[in-house]
Amino acid sequence: MINEESVVEVKNVFKSFKTVKAVNGANLQIKNGKFIAILGPNGAGKTTLVEIIEGIQKPDKGEVFILGKKWKGNENELHRFIGLSLQDTYFIDKLRVWETLMLFASFYDIGKKRIDEIIELMGLEEKRKSYVVNLSGGQRQKLSLGIALLNNPKILILDEPTTGLDPNARREIWSILLKLKEKSQTSLILTTHYMDEAEKLCDYIIIMNNGNVIKEGATTQLLNEDHGDKLMEFTFENFIDDIDSSDLPLSLNWDVANQKGFVKLNKVENDLTVFMNFIKEKGFKLKTLECRRKTLDDIFITLTGKHLNE
């Protein structure tokens, strides 16, 4: 079945730059039509890994197969199936939006009809005749995404497509990608350090840190494993060194440095009452209390001791 075909396979890939191990034994398999996120802080090795997949970098060790083929000797054929948007790409400043699309369309022998479709899909109708240099960051990113989608790619690779954009522009990009997910069989590899972006868009998440894949799995599976998918975050009025939670039937962690506590919740209604009684008995004065879903950032903190965006 076509849906089960692997469009990208990364086998035991290593890549170092001088003394830095950028990618340290990555394995990856992307099925047709699936959206995957490579999540990690700056310097985690995300961009190097996608550049190896894009054929821009050569791995020191390991193999990459795109649609069952290696890059070497198949560059021209494989470029036709891939659409990509790099981190911080600039286009020709004094070229208009439609002219830029026309230029890239000519590389794929694509006609004007597709250019019009892309302009509409990206919501760039009003900016059609604007020079690229006059576009906002969000509009430029939309143009970059539009160029990536010109050839109806089988594999779309987006390297931090919403970094530096305001919340509205980010949501617009997400909406375009969700529409694409719904209507096409394109597979997406997205690198990001925004956990909400990965959660919202992707079926499968790979978390990287210092060149290593430290966790991977289906998005829902990652968020629901261990002690459920909700947690309570709280702070106190006074400075607290330690909390003796041996008589609390819940899992409590106290972060002394940040003066923040976390309790993993199974059932909010019951666990909240138990926790409030515990606080009263101990005589602590609560400053803030928040019940929320567990996020990928919480998983990352558990695994590395630091936040994703640090």
């Binding site: 036709r80 790099l86 911080d88 600039y90 026309m102 590389f107």
Partner: protein, 374 residues
Amino acid sequence: MNKILRYNQLFQLIVANLKEVVREPGVLFWGIVFPILMSLGLGIAFTRKADSVMKVVIIENNKLPDSSSKLKTFINSSTKKTDNNLFSRKVVVAEQKLGNTIFLFRVTNWQDAMVLLKKGITNIVIEEKNNNIEYHFDPMNPDAQLNYIKLSKILNNKKIIENKNNDNIKGLTVSGTRYIDFLIPGLIAMGIMMSCSWGISYSIIERRTKKLLRRMVATPMKKSHFLISLITVRTAMNLVESLVLFLFSYLVFNVTIQGSIPALFLVFFTGNIAFAGISVFISSRTSNTEIGNGLINAVVMPMMVLSGIFFSYHNFPDWSISFIQNLPLTMMADDIRNIFSQTTNYSEIIYHSFILTVTGITFFAAGLKLFKWY
């Protein structure tokens, strides 16, 4: 527009590069207006002789009585007072063909004279000793030499002829023999070199820095098409810039092309090939615009100085002339000059064109081999 042509990638690359160039007003100014202004400035400066001013310091000698001092007599009888505090006396020698020479004199002591020499305000000091006038100057300084010749001439004449007609000087005004005829072909050749170096090299380096090269080669774009489009646009721009400069010099200075037009086109195109190839080579690796600036300057500056664009390279030492003559810019400038002045040596032009083409292709191939697309 032909539909096939419209979606052809080479055509689209050429159109995109051309639009980028013509939509940038600065590019048009530096490419077209600036060479015209330079030719106008230099043309006027070297076609209308301005007054030459020579500042001379005279050492005061109080031991000699006024009546027996040649210099004192000269100052008192032949010079006029000026408004200048430093050089208070002057003599004007008006010459119709060579322009006026104004001699400014300051009578002072040796200490003051040394200060003026060190500051470069004067380059000649004269002193009267034993009824003789002694001239103190650096014999290696051509300006000081000229001052000495002109000054000794007026000091030895009993009477200064104030308005010489110089009938024996026959000014060369025949088209092809003036400084402007020397300058314009040089400016055209230099324009081609500069335009290729900055237009091609800088454009490649900037696109590499901005990751546009990386983005473009991640498509089925042919790499050769990208470079060919840049070279084509640059050659077209060079043609326009050269034609505009020539047209201007024809209208203002009556500079004409007396030799073969096809030979001129041959030199033009082979010169473009040479500098386009060199430019691709210069920009083949670096992704840093500052390093790029340095590399481009390292190539163009020596040629600008050595290749005889503004003044003849025959003033350089003999041992260096054959090296200079083999520089691409010298070959192109010499050939264009020869064609303009109809002293065309066809065998030399064909030989130079061959060398320029081979130079361009060799550098292009080497640059392509080293080229860093990512």
